[in-house]
Symmetry: C2
Subunit: 117 residues, 2 copies
DNA sequence: CTATTAGTTAACCAGATGGTTAAATATTCT
DNA sequence: AGAATATTTAACCATCTGGTTAACTAATAG
């Protein structure tokens, strides 16, 4: 039912870094080449290059070379599986406030037989 | 608009590990204590304990002690923000097959002026 | 009291991650 | 050809990660 594929590993891991999420946001807005994508990030070009490779390996971007310029393109397909995974827990966050209250309520009520000393 | 909160970092990072996703699945099915959650995972109890702490710090589970037993409870609220983040890219994966085709199509068409040698 | 059970903490280790600078590669400009 | 531009690769480094085993704490059972 739920698959623990390494694709999901790579997708979530790629998304766990704020720089990479920013890069995805810029890609979504149409930015393309490495230098351009790197500019707003206070870090060296090789650092950005590494982030791009992580995103690429996660399948979140496609790269195409035109001469020395690498044109990047967002490919959000891997996010679909991630979204599906997360969605399975929707019912849990929907009811979570209620269940948290219930949870806190049984402060002094043990889950099963308990010696209470 | 899009926030790069460390909460999102922690959520995605927590989700990037298959053992932790399995643990969340077990929690969703009602399992509670550490020993019980650890059993199906071919690893030591301290290892599972660490995973639980990661999930806890990400806010994905709540812990309550009853004597020596730690009762865990899934809290999926952090997944909500994650889902929202991912959802922003829905339009990109919805149209991605079309746009990929278009992308591959311009195989020989440069993105802008290009010397073509 | 002693043994067992539940779980964490400590110390350690190998490998991954996220960054750096310097050098290399490839392409375009003049 | 030579200079500038776009980007990667290499080498290095500190920190994080995911696992181990051993020792510890706390609580229940006999």
């Amino acid at each position: 039912m739920v698959k623990y594929s390494s694709a999901l590993n790579r997708t979530f891991a790629a998304l766990a870094d704020p720089t990479r999420r920013r890069i995805l946001a810029h890609l979504a807005r149409g930015d393309k080449c490495v230098t351009h994508l790197a500019k707003p990030h206070a870090m060296s070009l090789p650092a950005v290059s590494k982030h791009l490779r992580v995103l690429e390996k996660a399948g979140l971007l496609r790269r195409r070379r035109y001469g020395r310029v690498h044109e990047m393109r967002l490919d959000a397909k891997p996010l679909r599986q991630a979204a599906q995974w997360v969605e399975e827990y929707r019912k849990f966050w929907q009811g979570s406030l209620d269940r948290l209250a219930e949870y806190l309520e049984k402060e002094n009520r043990p889950p099963e037989k308990r010696k209470t000393k």
